[in-house]
Symmetry: C2
Subunit: 179 residues, 2 copies
C-alpha cells in the first residue's frame, strides 16, 4: 500500500517517483517506481487468421535502447486515459496505414513490474484494409509481411527480441489459433 | 547513435538519462532512457521436463507496481556484470532454495525498449534439488508447484500477468517441449 510519494523526475513519457510503501508484513520501505501511462500493441493479420499459416505485419524500427533496428508489432502509449482498444486501432493506422474490421483483446500484462507500473494491452486485428495514408516505410521504420510460422521462427532463434511482440504472437498462435 | 547524455536521476536499481541521439536519417533529438543492469529469469522444472505434463515452480509475490500479489518465475537483476547464467542459478537458489543439475538458456529479450535498455535472459532449470535453506514462503512471497498446462491456463486467462514469466513459459512450452 502506498503511504506517500515524491517525484524525482518528470519527463516526456515517464515520471519517476520514490514511493513510501507499507509491505504485507507491516514494514515500511521506499521503492523507486517508473510511472508510465500504459500502452496497446496489436498483431495485425493481413490474411485470414484461420488459414493454415496466416500472414502478419511486423515493423522493423530503430530503437535507441537496442542501438539497432528491431522487429516489433505496432504499438504505442495510451494518450491521456485513452481506451486501450481505441489506442490499438490508432497505432495500427498510424504505423501501418491499415484499418481493421475486428480488433480483439488477447492479454494484458505488466512489462517489468520490478520497477514500472507499465501495462500493455495486446490485441489481434483481422480484416485489414490499406488506407490512403499507408505508410510503407521511412528512415526509422519499415513494414514486413511475414507468415506466422516465420514470426515464430524469429522468436525461437532470438531474432525477434521485443517482449511485448513475442508475447502477443506466442499468445495468439497458441491460444487463439492453436498453433 | 548516442552523441551525448546527461543523468537526471540516479537510484538504487535504475538511472535515468536524457540521451542526445543521432537517428538513422541524420536528424538529432533527445530521448529519455531508463538504464537497468539487466536480469535473469528461470523456469524451474520440479519433475522430468520431457514428461507429459511436467511440474514447474511459480512464485506469488507482492509487487507494489501491481498493488497485488502476482505470479512470476524466479528472477532478479544481474549483480555488477554478473554472468546471466550465474545470476539465474543464484536467483533460483535465493527465491526457491533449490539448485539445478542443468540450467539452459532459452531466450533474451528487451522488456520494453521504448524507454529502457533492460534485457532479460530467460533460462530453464532441470534436475532440481531442495537445499537446506529451502525458502517455502514469507510475507512477500510464496511458492506454488503447478503443472505446465495449469501455468499455460493462467496465462490464457490473463491471471499470470508478468511478461517475462509468461514469455519464458510460452517459449519453453512451444519451442523446447513442443506443447
Amino acid at each position: 500500500m502506498k503511504l506517500g510519494s515524491r517525484r524525482v523526475y518528470s519527463g516526456r513519457i515517464i515520471t519517476v517517483d520514490i514511493d513510501e510503501v507499507r509491505f504485507p508484513d507491516g514494514s515500511v520501505g521506499e521503492l523507486e517506481m517508473v510511472r508510465h501511462p500504459g500502452a496497446s500493441a496489436v498483431v495485425p493479420f493481413v490474411s485470414d487468421a484461420s488459414s493454415d499459416d496466416p500472414q502478419i505485419l511486423l515493423i522493423k524500427q530503430y530503437r535507441h535502447a537496442a542501438n539497432d533496428f528491431i522487429y516489433e508489432i505496432p504499438a504505442g502509449k495510451l494518450d491521456g486515459g485513452e481506451d486501450p482498444k481505441v489506442c490499438a486501432e490508432r497505432e495500427l493506422r498510424e504505423e501501418t496505414g491499415c484499418t481493421a474490421e475486428r480488433i480483439e483483446h488477447l492479454y494484458t500484462f505488466y512489462t517489468t513490474p520490478g520497477f514500472t507500473d507499465e501495462r500493455i494491452h495486446a490485441f489481434m486485428a483481422t480484416g485489414l484494409k490499406h488506407g490512403e495514408s499507408a505508410r510503407e516505410h521511412d528512415e526509422f521504420m519499415s513494414l514486413e509481411t511475414v507468415t506466422l510460422s516465420h514470426a515464430l521462427e524469429l522468436i525461437q532463434r532470438g531474432e525477434l527480441k521485443d517482449a511485448k511482440s513475442a508475447l502477443a504472437i506466442l499468445f495468439v498462435a497458441g491460444f487463439r489459433l492453436g498453433k
